[in-house]
């Protein structure tokens, strides 16, 4: 399973250009998608899921053309999709909802579908409450139902948009591991603002901004871009002087510890820090803004 995008553009109602001449190749395994709000991540995911049609360019998923109805239907047969805004039917129980979604996904054998539903209820950890109506579920529990429905048809392509939103840290780790296990011969496309989720599960990622790919490569490459650009500085309270971005601020009694990123060291008191993926992302966006201004 792979995804090939060439010159992909999406324009809404002739005005809003959500995607602009996107070129991207995604192979099997875990692939992360990062980017600021409005970058076009959700639009891209909806096109890959066959929900929206591209305005121009070519999109092939597992060899199927997303521009045709036939292609989109073929993709949906092997697709598992978890949208960012997950809507559920409040009067159905979790079990009933999954059974219903199974029917919609073409799982016509009632017994096999029932087995699959029970299996997934156990996997996501809501078997004990599966007969309760969804309107009684917390946000995290609803998210688990969402993940379960995405896995119903054992998809070859799994597109998940903010899958761990609303989950507590333990649940988040659990689902991260679940998604990582699903990688391999599947293609799992993970879009999230939680950089740590991508860092812990993906080998490769792309960063979108204003409808374009501004980075495509490995986690190590993006982290490496920030090498030598990250420092920690402790001050008595005020922000350290200099031209840099503050990544984190931590009050420690009478002093404040800043983690900053910039071209030059913010002073003698600064200590070089080992960059992480978040630092790499911030450096990329900073560098991009500087290029635009220039």
């Amino acid at each position: 399973m792979d995804i090939q995008l060439h010159g992909l553009s999406k324009v809404y109602r002739g005005r809003v250009r959500a995607l602009d001449q996107l070129d991207l190749e995604i192979a099997s395994g875990m692939f992360g998608l990062l980017g600021p709000n409005g970058a076009g991540k959700t639009t891209l995911m909806r096109i890959l899921a066959g929900i929206l049609r591209p305005t121009s360019g070519t999109v092939t998923v597992g060899g199927e053309d997303c521009a045709t109805e036939r292609g989109r239907t073929a993709i949906k047969r092997v697709l598992g999709y978890l949208p960012q805004e997950l809507g559920l039917y409040p009067d159905l129980s979790a079990r009933e909802f999954l059974d219903y979604m199974g029917i919609l996904k073409g799982l016509d054998d009632g017994k096999a579908r029932g087995r699959r539903v029970r299996e997934l209820l156990d996997v996501v950890g809501i078997a004990e409450v599966s007969n309760r109506q969804l309107k009684t579920f917390s946000g995290g529990m609803k998210r688990r139902v969402g993940i379960a429905q995405a896995l119903l048809n054992d998809p070859k392509l799994l597109i998940v948009d903010e899958p761990t939103a609303g989950l507590d840290p333990e649940e988040r780790i659990r689902f991260r591991n679940l998604l990582a296990e699903l990688g391999g011969d599947r293609l799992v496309l993970l879009s999230t603002h939680i950089v740590e989720d991508i860092a812990q599960t993906c080998q490769r990622l792309a960063v979108l901004a204003q409808g374009r790919v501004v980075f495509q490569g490995t986690i190590a490459e993006l982290v490496g871009a920030a090498e030598g650009k990250v420092w920690t500085v402790t001050t008595s309270g005020g922000r350290p002087a200099g031209h840099f971005d503050v990544i984190s601020t931590m009050h420690q009694g009478s002093s404040v510890l800043y983690r900053v990123i910039g071209e030059v060291t913010p002073g003698d008191a600064a200590t070089p820090a080992t960059p992480n993926l978040e630092d790499g992302y911030v450096w990329l966006m900073r560098d991009r803004r500087a290029s635009v201004v220039a």
Binding site: P83, Y89, Y100, I103
Partner: protein, 238 residues
């Protein structure tokens, strides 16, 4: 067959008990008002004929005046308000077929309720419609199809149950208020919703009913077309 029954059961569940309760609720309210009027007349005039007329008129008003707009309100609710829309758009079964199935199931339920009332009324002598069966069922069927079609297409076009219900309600009441205008115009006569109540012996009654059914079907076709536009479906309220 079993898969179809299971599917239909789930679609009815997604409609929710509130939508399904509307047609019987309308029946209860209209018949309740008729019984109240009949009771008052029974005590004041003590005329059995007047009491009989109150009840029969209540049935007629229920079928031509009450059920159609309520069916339209419910149709706009079920079309515009689907919390799992995006999930539906990403599955193999086309969303428009799912929505049309829901609309059909609700239409069938409304049909059953209305038909039961009309058949019961005609068998017990409380049926004021002078048309022959089965044409007489167009009394409620024609305006119901029209209202359901209008409610559904407006709900999709405006992406709002309130907006579509408001326009449907205002047009429905507008026809009532402007009945002289509608009946005095050869073209508008054909789309007057309350013809059986206002002019039961009109020569163009059948043409009027068939026009309403035809318009309703065209509106439903428009609904089906709008259901193919995923970008529109995912947009915000007008």
């Amino acid at each position: 067959m079993r898969k179809g029954v299971t599917r239909a059961r789930y679609e009815l569940r997604t409609l929710g008990p509130s939508v399904l309760a509307l047609p019987p609720l309308v029946v209860a309210i209209f018949l309740g008002v008729s019984l109240l009027a009949a009771y008052n007349d029974a005590h004041v005039s003590q005329s059995a004929a007047l009491v009989h007329h109150d009840l029969a008129a209540g049935v007629l008003y229920l079928l031509e005046f009450g059920i159609p707009p309520v069916a339209g309100l419910a149709a706009s609710q079920l079309i515009a308000h689907d919390p799992a829309k995006e999930l539906h758009l990403a599955v193999v079964r086309p969303y428009r077929r799912t929505m049309l199935l829901r609309l059909s199931l609700f239409g069938l339920w409304t049909l059953l309720v209305a038909a039961a009332v009309s058949i019961a009324a005609s068998r017990t002598g409380y049926w004021l419609v002078t048309r022959q069966a089965p044409q007489d069922q167009l009394t409620w069927l024609a305006p119901a199809v029209w209202c359901i079609g209008l409610g559904a297409v407006l709900a999709l076009a405006l992406r709002s149950t309130v907006a579509s219900s408001t326009i449907l309600g205002m047009l429905w009441l507008g026809e009532l208020l402007l009945r002289d205008y509608f009946l005095g115009n050869a073209a508008l006569q054909k789309v007057f919703l309350f013809l059986t109540i206002v002019e039961p012996q009109a020569a163009y009654w059948l043409a009027n009913r068939l026009t309403l059914v035809g318009m309703g079907l065209v509106l439903l076709a428009g609904t089906a077309l709008l259901l193919r536009n995923n970008e529109w479906l995912l947009g915000q309220e007008a």
